[in-house]
Amino acid sequence: MVGGWIAWFAPIVACAGIVLFGRRSKAISAALALGGMAVAFFCSCQALLQSLSPHAQAIHSTVSWVQLPGLLLELGLYWDRPAILMSLVVTGVGLMIFIYSVGYMAQERGFPRYFAFLSLFAFSMMGIVLADNFVTLFMFWELVGASSYLLIGYWYERPAAAEAGKKAFLVNRIADFGFLAGILMVWNLSGLGGMEKTLSFPALAERIPLLIHSGVLDPQTLAIAVALIFCGVLGKSAQFPLHVWLPDAMEGPTPVSAMLHAATMVAAGVYLIGRTFFLFWESPAALQLVAGIGGITALFAASLALVENDIKRVLAFSTLSQLGYMVMALGLGGYLPGAYHLTTHAFFKALLFLGAGCAIHAVHTNDIWHMGGLLKKMPVTGWTFIVGSLALCGIFPLSGFWSKDEILALAFERNLLLAWTATLTAGMTAFYMGRVVSVAFLGKPRSSHAEHAHEMPLIMTGPMLVLAVFSVIGGFIGIPAYLSAGHAHLGIHPEFNMKVALLSSAVALFGLGLAFAVYVRGARPLQGVQNSLAGVRHLLVSKFYFDEIYGWINRNIQQRFAILTDLFERYIIIGLFVNGTAKITGWTGSLVRLLQTGRVQGYALLIVLGFNLLFYWVKQWAP
């Protein structure tokens, strides 16, 4: 129990330590940040060992925070098996990324600031993972948003980075408004049937199914609340149509992209669905919405990745697409496949980002067309990147194969349309990853920088090797078994389906082969096909005009409404109420001050008159 609180608060202690003592020293700040993360990781490992014993219970501990009649807010941690797995991912993958960052950011002036923000993020993320109620979770949810803003805008002197941070924050604000409304609605619904209202997950998990089955709570009403909560997921996990911030978030340092925008933060949305799965499970309508949004995002983002030339943005779209996969899996009722894919994805996507960071560090550009031939120059980076790509494509027997296959098997059981969408996405995934590997790592160097690229030091390649090992063995370390023992009553478990496995492998190999043929062998399709592809390509490069559409809405609707409210603010609120009150007081004052003549005898006269008046009054009214 104490371990949970330590794992939660160690990173923020590190952050405070850096702010107080480490601002001048890179060594101290790195040591503090790594120490905090290592402590958190150690505590998570301990919790894992404890939870393996057959009689282990979920660790639950709360501190009461606000106590009012009818309202009890608690700060609490609930460390069940999925939370332990997630905190292992956050602290373990996080620790690898911290170590990598020491090498990657070594030349930066803002090095201590970077580690302070990163520790703050780790603290916030642990808060989301461990929170036992909606209020705590929401607080840390917002804190994660804030640290994401700080880290995306880390190079704040670059306008693009500052803008990207702002965009991420604003898009998340929109989503979180819905989330907050959903929380309040759930709070109200939990009081149906005369029970005390609650926001605690364990209490809700017992109560909501009870309320539904006794008919007190209408599934349609619950579906509205769940859809509102899902709004938060749309923002944080960058699901369609709020996906626009994630590609821009790549303006941050690459380890940040690996940690926040691939492995952990964007997974918070998926984790939230898992954490509140009892709500989603009871409202089939909401589940359908979730599955649909996930499927759309998966396909849509994968299509955008096909034409992107910025290596980090390809990975960003790929992250979107994989998050769509997870959301779809959860929407189809598959708690287990979703959580499984979340874990394996954290390994190989963090690995891919770190590899991309090495390539960018060596070549000084994000453009894959300026790389080329890096496999020979940087063998460790190249091979680990290829391992990560193969895992992402779902090639047997890497980790991605197992988790993606569970999702596909589930989809083929539940919804054929989504299943084929997911299969098509898998093909596209293989194609764009094949494209990146072929262009950036195979073939000949395409620029002078690429010709002179060097392998990175061990402090950067070491963490990548560790992550590569987990990307390979992720399917064999018993993650699904561990999870299903904890949450056996929830969700649907698909059986391993040989046909689906063969189909997905064939699709992935086809995609990889096609990419290899086009980008290494130089195969070109027929002229007619090329012409018809040009239009599609144009649409994809412009990202389906989403930024333009949002910009238009912003300028023409939101901006005009803002002008109206600004006028109201300026003239009604400030002019009438705030300054009006001040003016009335001022006028009264200048009137009354005429009485103050400064003559003592005038005052004496007034005293006498006043006394007489008082005397007369008392005689008159109180005989």
Partner: protein
């Protein structure tokens, strides 16, 4: 010819007359010293009334009160005269209506 005995009413009347004179003095006189004198007259009028009631009611409460008033009056005169003296020294003026600084 025999004079009518002095009753409570006579004394109270005298006290009232003294109080009125003092009040008029405070409000109409311009000289600071005369205002202070008139203030003393006000207090004396009150003292007289206290003593008269004390005698008429046959207890000593009123006389005790008079002692207190006298002590306070002595203190007040000390402070008041000191202020008046300093004012005069400071500005060379003695008329109360020439002091206009007592606003804001």
């Amino acid at each position: 010819m025999t004079l009518a005995p002095i009753t409570l009413n006579h004394v109270l009347l005298l006290s009232g007359i003294l109080f009125t004179i003092g009040l008029i003095g405070v409000m109409t006189r311009r000289n600071l010293l005369l205002i202070l004198l008139s203030l003393e007259l006000l207090l004396s009028a009150a003292n007289l009334a206290f003593v008269a009631f004390s005698r008429a009611l046959g207890n000593l409460d009123g006389q005790i009160m008079v002692f207190f008033v006298m002590i306070v009056a002595a203190a007040e005169v000390t402070v008041g005269l000191a202020i008046a003296l300093l004012l005069v020294r400071h500005s060379g003026k003695i008329n109360a209506d020439e002091f206009r600084e007592m606003k804001w």
